[in-house]
């Protein structure tokens, strides 16, 4: 045993987990996309277990409402970049691991290079656009992708695009969900999420990564695990053979964001109008004026918008308003729309 492997002795005592397995972990290059509720436990356990090269990609800063489930961050980190804080903290936890932060957003422009320079990718994102982007990129690059997603008390886990015995590839995300209208699916800010679910699903993702790299036993390939933290029931659903053809990556849609200061000036001179796309309850509790449609009702109210005007969509963080802007750009390209950067709290 290598002299500095004493820390791994309790996992190397496992049946089938020999020195070669530990060496494969140490040699591996892994990309974790998203350092939020799922990314925190994934990065924490893979660092602890000695995965040699870990890249964490996230362009978001820590906010107070992250702290109930994103366990790598403290109140002192609010406003700092998640990927940078996570790498700093994890370097202390295991100095043998090489950790790198990517603070840029993953787009159609940089995804292929990132996917190609890693052995396995972990999808810990919080939005459909990046999920599909990663999925399509790994299918094209022939790399495995460990998927996790959570909402309220329910989570999903799978490993996509594994080589089958006959050389074909196991199912990927588009075999499960060919496409999604992101404005129709509430996220955790709207519907909430139980923090322990993020921990359970994130640890299950890290577990698939370790099993894949060490070549110990069965993977969730050609299957998806659906877990309910209320009843603790889980079901493993067998998927059909991979038959979705993916040959190109969809270009990332640019979303025009606007700072509160500039938006305020536009509203003062009458050239811009605010649109709250949060829930009725959020709107009633506090709002900064303007029109109000819940995000999932926006598509039914397109005739309200005047092509002569500009609109500033707002929500609590800027995430849902970005989805609104994407929908508007697609359905009413002639209307000028912005997403309020950082959300209503910056007003």
């Amino acid at each position: 045993m290598q002299p500095d492997w004493e820390r791994y002795s309790c996992q190397m005592a496992l049946p089938g987990f020999d020195e070669k397995a530990q060496q494969r972990l140490q040699d591996a290059r892994i990309l974790i996309v998203g350092a939020g509720g799922l990314g925190c436990p994934v990065a924490q356990y893979l660092t602890a277990a000695g995965v040699g090269n870990i890249t964490i990609a996230d362009d978001d800063a820590v906010s107070e409402s992250n702290l109930h489930r994103q366990i790598l961050y403290t109140p002192a980190d609010i406003g700092s970049l998640k990927s940078v804080v996570a790498c700093e903290r994890l370097s202390l936890q295991n100095p043998q691991v090489k950790l790198s932060a990517i603070t840029k957003r993953i787009t159609s422009g940089n995804v292929s290079q990132l996917v190609n320079s890693n052995d396995i990718i972990v999808d810990c994102t919080d939005n459909f656009e990046t999920r599909y982007l990663l999925n399509d990129a790994v299918v094209i690059a022939a790399k495995p992708l460990v998927y996790g997603a959570i909402y309220q008390f329910e989570g999903q886990v799978a490993i996509w695009n594994i080589v089958n015995a006959d050389g074909s590839r196991s199912a990927n995300y588009r075999d499960l969900y060919p496409q999604v209208d992101a404005t129709q699916i509430p996220n955790c800010a709207t519907g909430g999420v139980i923090p322990t679910l993020a921990g359970i699903i994130g640890c299950m993702q890290a577990n698939e990564v370790i099993k894949y790299l060490t070549q110990t036993r069965e993977l969730l390939a050609g299957k998806v695990l659906v877990f309910d933290a209320q009843t603790m029931q889980s079901r493993i659903i067998k998927l059909n053979n991979n038959n979705t053809v993916i040959t190109s990556i969809q270009p990332t849609q640019e979303v025009g964001v606007i700072d509160a200061e500039i938006a305020k000036a536009g509203i003062a001179d009458g050239s811009m109008q605010l649109v709250d796309i949060r829930t009725d309850q959020e709107h009633d509790e506090f709002n900064i004026g303007g029109m109000h449609f819940e995000l999932d009702e926006l598509a039914d109210n397109l005739d309200t918008f005047d092509p002569q005007k500009s609109y500033v969509f707002y929500c609590s963080s800027g995430k849902r308003s970005a989805e609104a802007v994407k929908l508007m750009q697609e359905k009413l390209p002639q209307v000028k729309v912005y997403s309020l950067k950082g959300g209503v709290s910056t007003w």
Binding site: Y151, Q152, Y177, V180, Q184
Partner: protein
Amino acid sequence: MKVTVLAFGIAKDIFGASSVEVEIPGDTTAARLKAVLEQNYPRLSKLASYMLAVNNEYAGDDMHIKTGDEIALIPPVSGG
């Protein structure tokens, strides 16, 4: 025949319940069941896609539905 469809994620909100009973013709397919569900609950079709799992197996459009099958409707989930 009557089948019970278990709801996951946003489907619970759409159904207003954690499961619904629907009446479908005797020998039917997953595609037909989806059509009946989308007629009763139009918000379902707005999701663009969702998974129907029959006895813990992904139900392609032509999968046959039998009495006693366990049917789950599992929409996409975005959070992380």
